[in-house]
Symmetry: C2
DNA sequence: GTATCTGCAAAGAATTTGCAATCCT
DNA sequence: AGGATTGCAAATTCTTTGCAGATAC
């Protein structure tokens, strides 16, 4: 893969976004730095960067793809009320991967864990109905 | 939601498919039973059935949505070679959900776990390179 | 009877692609 | 120089939607 200012900028934008941006969001941010960049270029480069494992694609039901720069193990949480995407710490999935590789005879290269639910913001005021106590 | 022959048939088809069909696949199967059904109706009803929690939507990067009838806890495995979707047994995620609800103060309603890797079929002949021993 | 559902076709949204010009190395 | 990359616009793909007629309750 050859250097290009466009790709470098796109990667930088994703790397400095903590909000799991969509292609469109990346496009608008990059446009401030390279005003004549085209949306097609953003899509092409996001795909190339995912292919090269430099970023990750997050595929969400009924939503466009989002992109994530984090390389450490973590899960995603999607609030069913506000549709915000949050990061969750990765906890015990390594054991699970090992178990699965042994029991199922597969080689797991990657995985994506996506939880749906109600985030703590949206949960305020709903606590009683779900029996969750505030800290 | 009112009864309709189309929706009943669509649900039946999904319930009797173990291959995580796409909307198009469901359409072709249903068309054999109701020849003049339209693709729009299939999409509309798959959406309605997901909404009513009677089936589940599986969102996969770079692929169209798939649908799953299984209500028991299990994960999905997507082979990066043949792109086949397999079921994996659900093992320890309940603990994880409990941990996350406690530590992150969220209410988890649902989740989808998707592993990418090489399935045992495609793995034959590649075992040496990945150091996996055949059973 | 009337609200919901259907088939059809057209529209919509997201993403990809063909091509000539431009940019890396 | 020569292949990769870009901007642009058109094409593609998947999915949704408006509408008039049919169906369920």
């Amino acid at each position: 893969m050859r250097y290009s200012k466009q790709r470098e900028t796109i990667l930088n934008v994703v790397n400095h976004s903590s909000d799991h941006p969509t292609a469109e969001m990346v496009y608008h941010k990059v446009k401030k730095l390279i005003p004549n960049i085209s949306l097609g270029t953003v899509y092409r480069n996001l795909n190339a960067l995912v292919e090269a494992s430099q970023i990750k694609r997050i595929s969400i039901p009924k939503d466009v793809d989002h992109f994530d720069h984090r390389h450490d193990e973590h899960y995603h949480f999607c609030c069913t009320e506000c549709h915000h995407l949050y990061d969750l710490p990765g906890i015990t999935i390594h054991q699970l991967v090992q178990e699965l590789e042994q029991d199922e005879m597969v080689k797991i290269m990657d995985y994506e864990v996506l939880f749906y639910g109600i985030c703590s913001q949206c949960l305020k005021g709903k606590e009683d109905s779900y029996g969750i106590k505030r800290k």
